[in-house]
Point group: C2
Chain length 665, copies 2
C-alpha cells in the first residue's frame, strides 16, 4: 500500500511558515490549510502556494467552510458570496478541495431536501471553478451529526463535484459501529481526516477542540476505522486534524515528527488492505488524478517520489524485535554521587563484576539484574547529579530493530563505537534516556554486548571482600523502570514506546503528589520487560521543591522480608513510611498486628489486588538528583505495579527530602 500523508496546519504551533516547514521536514506529503492561518498571515495565497511547492507539500484541503446546508434563503445568498471568494482564494493556493462541515447555526432549517439542493448548488459553483467540495458531519451538527446522514444528503444532491469527508473523531466520538463505511463508493469519499482521543465523558465539542490526539495516542479504533475507509476504495491522503491545547504551544518540529510517526504506525497496523477492493474501486484512479490536477508541476513530481518512498517505508516497517528482558539499566552519576551509589549498590547486594574495555563504566550484577554505573565527566560543582542514562533491551534481531527505528523516524542516538565494541541501535526518548537494543549473549545477533566488558576481580580491585553480593543474592531481576517525560511530550513518549515495543497502552493513571498531579502510563509488553512513563499533568512552575523528574528502578525479589533485613544489615538507605499509614492499613485490611509490625519495621508498603494477589515493596530515598530504587515482591500472582499507595510514597519522599535539606543547612 502506498498512502499519501497530510496534516492540518491547525495541529501545529507557530506562524504559517513555521507550520509548513515543520510538516515538510517531518516527511508529510501535503497539508490542510486552516482558514484562520491563511487570513492571519501576511503571505498572499500565491506566496503560500509557492512556499508549499518549494517544501514539496501539496495543498490537499482548504477548511473549514461553515453553516452552508439548511440556511434560510437570505443567509444562503451570503454563503454563495463567501463561496466565490473562497474558491478564488483556493485557485490561487493551488487547492482543489474545500471542507464543508455540517451547520451549527441556530436558524438552520432541518430539511434534507433543502440541504441537498444547496450543496448541489455550491458544488455546481465549485465545478465552474474547477474545484470540488466535501461535506462532513460534525458530531455536534445542529441537524446533521452522523456520517450516515451526511452521506444520505450527498447521495441525494448527486453532483460529481460533491463528496463526503470522513473524520475519525466525529464518527468514533459517537459510536463504535462504523462497518457501513466499507460499503461506501470509495470515489465519493473525497477526504479522510484522522484523529484519536482519550475516552472522556464531557461535551463533545470541548472534547474535540482541546483533547484530540494523534492516532495511537488515544482510545479510539482509528486503525479499524481507516481500514473500513480504505476498503471502501478511498485513495486520498491520510490527513491528520488534531486540536490539542498542548500541541498548540509545543515546538512544531517535534509535534510534526510525532504526528508523522503516528501515521507510519497506523499504516503498519493496517496491514495489507485490499485497496480498490471497494465496490467502486475502479473509479479511484481518476478521482486521484483529478485531485492532483490543480497542483503545480513541481509539487506533483515531488509528491510522486515522496509517496513512493513513503509507501516503501510503510511496507518495510519491520515488526518489533520483541525484546525479552532488560539487558541492563545504566545510571550516570557525578563523582560524589557515584561514590554514594556504589555503596548503595553493595548494600542492595550487587557485585561489581565487570568493567568496560574503554569507558568509565562498571557492571554490577545480582541474579539477572544488571546495572551499569557510569561516572560523568561533569564535576560536582552544581551539586549531586544522578540519572538513568539508558536502558538496554535484550534483542533477538538487532538489525530488525535498527530498521524499525529508522522507519519510525525515531531520533537515533549518535554513538562512538570502537572496533571491538558491539554496535547497538539506540534512540533517545523525549526525556533524554537512551533506549538500546542489545544482542543477547550468544543470540542470533552474534557478539553479545557483555563482551565489551572485562571480568573484574572485585577483591583485587577494591581490597575489600563483597560478602553481601557475591554470596547469596536477594534480587532476581529488574522488574520495571520508570522514567519522567517532559510535560508537553508525554503523549509523544507513549506513542514512541508503544511503537518501539509494539505493545498496547492501557488508560493512564493519575497520582496526587504533594506538589501536583502526576500522569502515569504503564507498559507490559511481556513479563520480563515492564516500563512506566510519568509526567506532571501541568507544566510545573517555580514552586516545585520536589524532585522534578524522578526515575526509578524496581528490583524483583522472591522474599522481600529477607531481602529487607539483609539489606538493612548491609546499611542500605530506606525510605521512611509514616506509622500513620500502618495504623490505617491494619484497620482497612484487617491484618494481624504482627504482620503489620513486620511491614512497619521494614517500611514496606502493602497492597492486595482483587484476586488476593499481594504486593510488598520498600524504596530507597532519592539518591543524588533523580534516581531511587524499589525492592518488590509479588505474591499470589499479583497483577500490576503496586501503585495504589503512590501518594504515600511520594509524600514520604517529599518529607524525607525536606528533612535532608534541613539537616544540610
Amino acid at each position: 500500500m502506498s498512502l499519501r500523508t497530510g496534516i492540518a496546519t491547525v495541529c501545529l504551533s507557530g506562524t504559517l511558515p513555521d507550520k509548513l516547514a515543520a510538516a515538510a521536514h517531518a516527511g508529510f506529503d501535503g497539508v490542510e490549510l486552516f482558514e484562520p492561518d491563511v487570513l492571519g498571515t501576511p503571505m498572499s495565497p500565491d506566496e503560500i502556494r509557492q512556499l508549499c511547492a518549494e517544501l514539496g507539500l501539496s495543498v490537499d484541503l482548504y477548511q473549514p467552510f461553515r453553516d452552508v446546508e439548511g440556511a434560510p434563503a437570505e443567509r444562503f445568498e451570503i454563503t454563495l458570496r463567501r463561496a466565490r471568494r473562497v474558491f478564488a482564494t483556493m485557485q490561487e493556493l493551488g487547492c482543489d478541495l474545500v471542507l464543508i462541515c455540517s451547520s451549527t447555526a441556530p436558524d438552520t432549517i432541518d430539511d434534507d431536501e433543502l440541504a441537498a439542493a444547496q450543496l448541489r448548488q455550491l458544488a455546481e459553483l465549485a465545478q465552474e471553478h474547477g474545484l470540488r467540495i466535501c461535506y462532513e458531519a460534525l458530531a455536534w451538527g445542529i441537524h446533521v451529526s452522523t456520517w450516515e446522514h451526511s452521506w444520505r444528503i450527498v447521495e441525494r444532491a448527486d453532483h460529481p463535484a460533491l463528496g463526503i469527508c470522513l473524520d475519525s473523531f466525529h464518527v468514533l466520538s459517537r459510536t463504535r459501529e462504523f462497518s457501513g463505511i466499507a460499503e461506501l463508493p470509495g470515489e465519493r469519499i473525497f477526504f479522510l481526516q484522522l484523529a484519536d482521543a482519550p475516552k472522556m465523558d464531557m461535551n463533545v465539542l470541548q472534547w474535540s477542540r482541546h483533547y484530540r490526539l494523534f492516532p495511537g495516542q488515544g482510545a479510539f479504533d482509528v486503525v479499524g476505522f481507516t481500514r473500513a475507509v480504505l476498503e471502501a476504495g478511498y485513495s486520498g491522503p491520510l490527513s491528520l486534524e488534531v486540536f490539542n491545547d498542548v500541541f498548540r504551544q509545543s515546538p512544531p518540529a517535534l509535534t510534526a515528527a510525532d504526528a508523522h510517526r503516528s501515521l507510519t504506525n497506523l499504516e503498519a497496523a493496517l496491514g495489507p488492505v485490499p485497496t480498490g477492493s471497494g465496490p467502486h474501486g475502479s473509479a479511484m484512479q481518476s478521482s486521484d488524478m483529478h485531485s492532483s490536477e490543480t497542483h503545480s508541476s513541481e509539487t506533483r513530481s515531488s509528491e510522486t517520489s515522496r509517496s513512493h518512498t513513503r509507501g516503501a517505508e510503510a511496507r518495510l516497517l519491520p515488526a518489533a524485535p520483541s525484546p525479552g528482558t532488560f539487558a541492563f539499566v545504566e545510571i550516570e552519576a557525578t563523582p560524589s554521587s557515584a561514590l554514594q551509589l556504589r555503596s548503595v549498590l553493595r548494600s542492595l547486594g550487587f557485585t561489581w563484576t565487570r568493567t568496560h574495555r574503554t569507558k568509565p563504566v562498571t557492571l554490577w550484577e545480582q541474579g539477572d539484574a544488571r546495572l551499569l554505573l557510569t561516572i560523568t565527566a561533569h564535576p560536582d560543582t552544581s551539586g549531586p547529579h544522578t540519572r538513568i542514562a539508558a536502558i538496554g533491551l535484550d534483542t533477538s534481531d538487532v538489525d530488525a530493530a535498527a530498521a524499525r527505528l529508522r522507519a519510525l523516524d525515531a531520533e537515533l542516538l549518535p554513538r562512538v563505537v570502537s572496533e571491538q565494541e558491539t554496535a547497538m541501535p539506540a534512540i533517545a526518548s523525549p526525556d533524554g534516556t537512551g533506549v538500546f537494543f542489545c544482542p543477547t549473549r550468544g543470540g542470533a545477533g552474534g557478539q553479545g554486548w557483555l563482551d565489551d566488558f572485562l571480568r573484574t576481580d572485585e577483591r583485587a580491585n577494591t581490597g575489600q571482600p563483597d560478602a553481601a553480593g557475591s554470596t547469596e543474592a536477594s534480587l532476581t531481576n529488574v522488574d520495571h523502570v520508570s522514567l519522567t517525560q517532559p510535560f508537553d511530550r508525554f503523549d509523544e513518549s507513549i506513542l514512541l514506546f508503544r511503537s518501539l515495543l509494539d505493545t498496547s497502552a492501557p488508560a493512564s493513571a493519575e497520582h496526587a503528589g504533594p506538589f501536583g498531579l502526576v500522569r502515569s502510563q504503564e507498559f507490559s509488553p511481556q513479563d520480563g520487560l515492564r516500563l512506566v512513563l510519568n509526567a506532571s499533568v501541568l507544566r510545573r512552575g517555580s514552586w516545585s521543591p520536589g524532585v522534578l523528574s524522578p526515575q526509578h528502578i524496581a528490583l524483583r525479589t522472591e522474599d522481600v522480608v529477607q531481602a529487607a533485613d539483609r539489606m538493612h544489615a548491609a546499611g542500605a538507605p530506606v525510605l521512611h513510611i509514616s506509622p500513620n499509614y500502618y495504623a490505617d492499613l491494619a484497620a482497612r485490611l484487617g491484618l494481624y498486628e504482627d504482620f503489620v509490625e513486620s511491614l512497619r519495621s521494614r517500611n514496606l508498603l502493602y497492597e492486595r489486588d482483587g484476586e488476593g494477589g499481594e504486593c510488598l515493596h520498600f524504596f530507597t530515598p532519592v539518591l543524588g538528583s533523580q534516581v531511587y530504587f524499589e525492592v518488590v515482591e509479588y505474591r499470589g500472582g499479583f497483577s500490576g505495579f503496586g501503585t495504589a499507595d503512590t501518594p504515600i510514597r511520594m509524600a514520604s519522599h517529599a518529607a524525607q527530602r525536606r528533612a535532608a535539606l534541613l539537616s544540610h543547612t
Copy 2:
C-alpha cells in the same frame, strides 16, 4: 456576623507542614485534615495537633470516610473496624468531627432504612469516643446524591452525634434550587464546605476533582447558598474544599491568601444575615460550644481572639470606592525604549504636559487620556524593555479604598512618598502591575495626584513644536487596558480585580493565538473603566517565540479614520493586517468595496455585533518588550471590546515581530 473560616489541606500544595503554615499565615481559623495528608506525613497525630495549636489553627474536620451507608453486613464490619481506628486518630488530633460521604461502592444496598441504621450505629460509636459524624451527599453517590436525600436519612437515623454536611459544589453542580436548606434545623448542619466552579458540561466527578475554584472565581451562586445555610441557623466555620489541578502545584502561601480573600468577599457579599434566625437558632450556641470542647486550650483562646478580629474585619469591609475612570496609565521603559515610546506618543497625538516634581516621570495628555512615561534605572543591556507599570483609578474616597485594600489582604505596594506628594493607596496585581487609587482632582479626596506634577512648557523643553498633539486631539480617553497575568494566578487575579472594583466577571473567553490558547477575562464595572486580564491556558514552555506577556492600552476615538490618517501622517507605527483578512471580510459581511478599501488601507479590523453596533480599530506593533497600543472607535452603541478578530491580531503581531527579528539579523 462573626464567622470562623477554614480550609481543607487538600486545597494546598506541599507537605502537611507547608499547608498548615500557609493556612495560618493567610488568617484561617481552622483546617479540615484530608486523610491522605495525615497518612503520608511522618508527623504523629499528636505532633500534628501540637503544630496546629502553635499555628493557632483548630482542627475542624477529619475527611473523608467513604462507603459507610448501605454496606453489606461483612463490609460494614470492616467499616466499624476502620471507624474505631479513625476515631482514635481523631482524638489524638484534637478533632471531634468526621465527614462521611455517601457511598459510591457498587455493592451498596439501596435501602434508606439500612443506611439510617448503619449511620446511627456509627454515630453511637462516635459518641462513645466523644466525637460526632456528619453525612454528605456526593453529587455522584451511587444511591444518595442530593442534600434532601442525605437529610432524610439523617433525620431517620435521629442520633445527636449525627448531622449533615453541606457542600456547595455537590448541591450547585446539580441544581439551582436550594431554598429548602434555609428550613433545615441549623444545629443538625454539622459542617459547611464551600467551593465554586466554572460552568462545565462534563462528568461531575472529573469536574469536581480538577476544576473547583474558590467562591467568587466561578459561576455558582455560593453567596445565596451560604446565606440559606446561615439562615437555617448554621454556626460552624465557612470551610473551603477545592480540588484544582493548578492550586495543587502552586505556592501554598499564595493560594491560601487567595482562598482567604474569597471568604472575606463572601462575608461582605452576604450582608447582614439574621444568624440564629433559623427555626432552631437557639440550639446553635450549644452546638458551637460542643464543637470547640475538644480543642486544646491554646487553640480555643487564639480562635476566639481571631474570630473576633475576623468578625470585625468582615463587618468593616468597606464598599468599593467606585473608581470613575483611568486617572492614568504608567508605562515604564528602559532609556532606548523610552525614546521610541516618546516619538510614538507624539505620533499618536499626545502632548508632554507635565513632569513629576521628584521622579523621572513625564505626563502625556490627549483629551482625557493621560499616560505616564517612566524611565527605569535599568540599563538597556538586556535589550529593550517596556511594561505597563501601573494603572491609576480616579477614586472619590481614597481612605475607603485604602481600608478596603487592607480588609482584602491585598498585597499593598510599598511606596516612597515625599512630603509634598499625594498619598495613593496601591496594590500589586499578580503580574506586578500596580493599581493606584487616586484622589480625583478637586474631589472629596482633597489634594489631586496631578499636583505632584509641574506644568511643562513643551517647546521650551524640546525645542520642537508639537502640532499633532497640542492642537486638535484625535483621542478622547483610555477605553481599556489589558494585562497578562501569570498562568497559575489567573483565577486569583480575576477574584482580586472583582473585589477591587466590586464588579462581576462574565465567563472568560478563549483565543487561539499562534503560540497557544489564551484565556481572556473582561471587566466593565462602568463605562469609563474597562479592564481585560489575559493568561495562557497552559504554562508556556521553551517554545514561545511570541511576546510572553503582552499588555496593551486601548485609546478611544470618535473618528478612527481621521485619527488613523492623522497618526499615519505623524509617522505612527501601525500593525500590518493581512490583505487576506479584508478579502474574506468583504465577502463575509457583504461590505462595499470602497469601505473595505478604507479599512484595508488603514489596517483597521472591523466587526459588527448583533444589534448593528460596529467596532473599528487598529493597533501598533509591540513596542519594546511587552506593550502595544490600540486606537478604537465604536459606532451605534457597539457592545464589548471588539475581540472577535483577536486571532488575526495575534497572528499579525507574531508575523510582524518575526519580520522585525529577521531585519535585525
